[in-house]
Symmetry: C2
Subunit: 228 residues, 2 copies
DNA sequence: CGTTCAGTTGAGTTGCTTCAACCCGTGTGG
DNA sequence: CCACACGGGTTGAAGCAACTCAACTGAACG
């Protein structure tokens, strides 16, 4: 179960709603409700080029929140897509600000979340710029596994991601075809197994970490908020 | 001249120091001074892989500040390198927090800065994942030009960047050799000219924007803090 | 039973990398 | 003042990783 800050509870219950897989989240018309808080399910924050090529910047997992508003407070600089039937709450900006003011511990934990998100982005950018397909995918799997473990959504290195290979490609900057080949290769190496629509099991974390070129310990401290 | 928030002035004068090109900024031993505020010069925030490959995540330009501390408040998740002789101030975390508490307008403008930085990262990630060398470099030049223009460091589309082609490659995820080729091609197309050690002039912004696959208007609103 | 959609696999192409040679401006020491 | 080394930029040639295109499979569904 997801543990949420007590001050948030009431808000989340009041404003929560279920959204269908595939829908795109838009800010409300009044422009004052902007913060999307995920209770269940996954969101993807992506950007796309004119030609339709898409890059996923981050996934928003249960317990995380995302504000897609850009600096002019008018438009959104990303597209938020719902990857599987989800439960989310939409929180008004004013309300959110008030909450942060009133609860310094919430403010603190949100700050930690932000730093962790920044660290994740850095790791991904590094690999996007300088690494092979294998490293990128290995890293992505490790990151997702860690984040899911932190919210008890893994079991012994096994977890589900509501992603097709195309979407994993959008995340790692690869074509779906190449994602496929790379996953199969890792399969053959005994690092992981994948079952239908992305039931993933990591068999040898430390070997996988080598391929991802990460140090598991440091990575955890950097990208998991509140990891000792 | 750089305009800074009045509440910062005193702090900046008190704590400012000059640092030499090439040096690496480390947090102070007491771990309480972490926010680097740049008054003059450029910093580069980078990460590297075991094999030494480096990716620059962002440049820190005059008037911007950067806190490299990771979520555990102990280590830094990036390396901060000084790209040319610079003047910076190092501000203690507690002091910084206090300042933000006391001056809501400063807090606001820092928030805007953060959102703008996030938008920039998104644009870069998109191109890192899905674009050609030409698009990446064109985008990088436009971004730098815009940011420098905002602080009056350009003149008619001409500006200097304290970067070699290797460093531009680290920023765009390309080899220095390919950066060279791409710059020369843009040169031949009449888009830009480059002189010794990166005196860049953009001749045809809108044409360059096409290559970068950006809309100049929206980009400006998204990545320049306080652009109307 | 046919259609659709995601994944898989092969073949051929391409864009970027690596390696290597060369040029040129700058600094340095005899 | 010249000789030389050095670091960055430039260019060519060759290699390779990832892409595209296309065909096939198998599962899900009406």
């Amino acid at each position: 179960m997801l543990k949420t800050h007590s001050a948030l509870q009431e808000l989340l219950v009041r404003d929560k709603r279920t959204v269908d897989k595939g829908s795109i989240l838009k800010s409300e018309a009044d422009e004052s409700r902007e913060r999307f808080y995920v209770l269940e399910g996954w969101l993807a924050a992506s950007k796309s080029l004119q030609d339709g090529e898409q890059q996923t910047l981050d996934f928003v997992l249960p317990g995380e929140s995302y504000d897609p508003t850009s600096a002019d407070y008018r438009t959104s600089f990303v597209q938020l897509e719902v990857l599987c039937d989800a439960v989310i709450a939409i929180i008004g900006r004013a309300e959110w600000e008030r909450l942060l003011q009133d609860h310094s511990d919430l403010q603190y934990s949100e700050k930690i979340n932000e730093i962790a998100a920044q660290a994740r982005h850095s790791e991904r950018m590094l690999r996007l710029g300088k690494s092979s397909a294998e490293t990128r995918i290995a890293y992505a799997l490790i990151e997702l596994c860690m984040r899911l473990t932190a919210i008890n959504l893994t079991e012994d290195g096994a977890f589900q991601v509501p992603l097709g290979q195309k979407q994993l490609g959008d995340f790692t900057g690869l074509s779906s075809v190449h994602v496929c080949r790379t996953l199969r290769r890792m399969n053959r190496l005994g690092l992981i197994t994948t079952q239908d629509h992305m039931d993933i099991t990591i068999h040898d974390v430390s070997k996988l970490a080598e391929h991802a070129e990460v140090d598991l310990g440091t990575l955890r401290k950097e990208i998991i908020p509140g990891a000792a």
